[in-house]
């Protein structure tokens, strides 16, 4: 399976996917860590994929979304954005909105 197929499959078979540096338990980049904090705060179940484990994945994801940096957040197969956009959306309450609209459970009171 090519890297693009792998990414496409992950993005389509998981509600929320975060391509990041490190793991949710041990983020290895400030920007990735910020998105992990936001998702954990919202109590959203998500799949973390560590791009540091594979150069193909690290380059493949940038080509897949035409987005040059990591982290990258996907909700229901759709690219939402990197750290700036996710943080901006979270602060504006738009991230919670998007999750609810797409039928992804958000912890109460988030």
């Amino acid at each position: 399976m090519g890297i693009e197929q792998f990414i496409d499959n992950e993005v389509k078979s998981n509600d929320v996917v975060l391509f990041m540096k490190g793991t949710p338990q041990f983020p290895q980049c400030g920007f990735s860590g910020q998105v992990v904090q936001i998702l954990d705060h919202l109590g959203v179940p998500y799949k973390g994929l560590n791009v540091l484990e594979s150069a193909d994945l690290r380059d493949g994801i940038k080509a897949y979304s035409n987005w040059p940096t990591i982290p990258q957040l996907y909700i229901k197969g759709e690219f939402v954005g990197g750290c700036d956009i996710v943080r901006e959306m979270f602060q504006a309450g738009e991230l919670q909105q998007t999750l609810k609209e797409k039928g992804v459970a958000v912890a109460a009171g988030a």
């Binding site: 987005w67 040059p68 940096t69 939402v80 959306m89």
Partner: protein
């Protein structure tokens, strides 16, 4: 390898002629900047599309030479 604020601003304005660009150097190492890019031509575009326009203007420097560019985009 680093970029200076003036060069970032020049590239963004070259790629997005109607952009108003303000750049802050976050770390003084030529690698971590915050930029606000406001452009009438962003109207109707999603944040992702606006950011992609800025990244395209930076001609592949983003994510390579330029490690971190905290971006805020919008219309003036």
């Amino acid at each position: 390898m680093a970029m200076d604020a003036g060069e970032i601003e020049r590239l963004i304005k070259e790629g997005i002629p109607d952009a108003q660009v303000t750049i802050r150097d976050l770390a003084g190492d030529g690698n971590h900047y915050a930029a606000t890019v406001l452009a009438p031509s962003f109207a109707g575009k999603s944040r992702v599309q606006q950011h992609q326009l800025v990244y395209n203007a930076l001609k592949g420097n983003m994510g390579g030479v330029l490690h971190a560019l905290a971006l805020q985009t919008g219309t003036p």
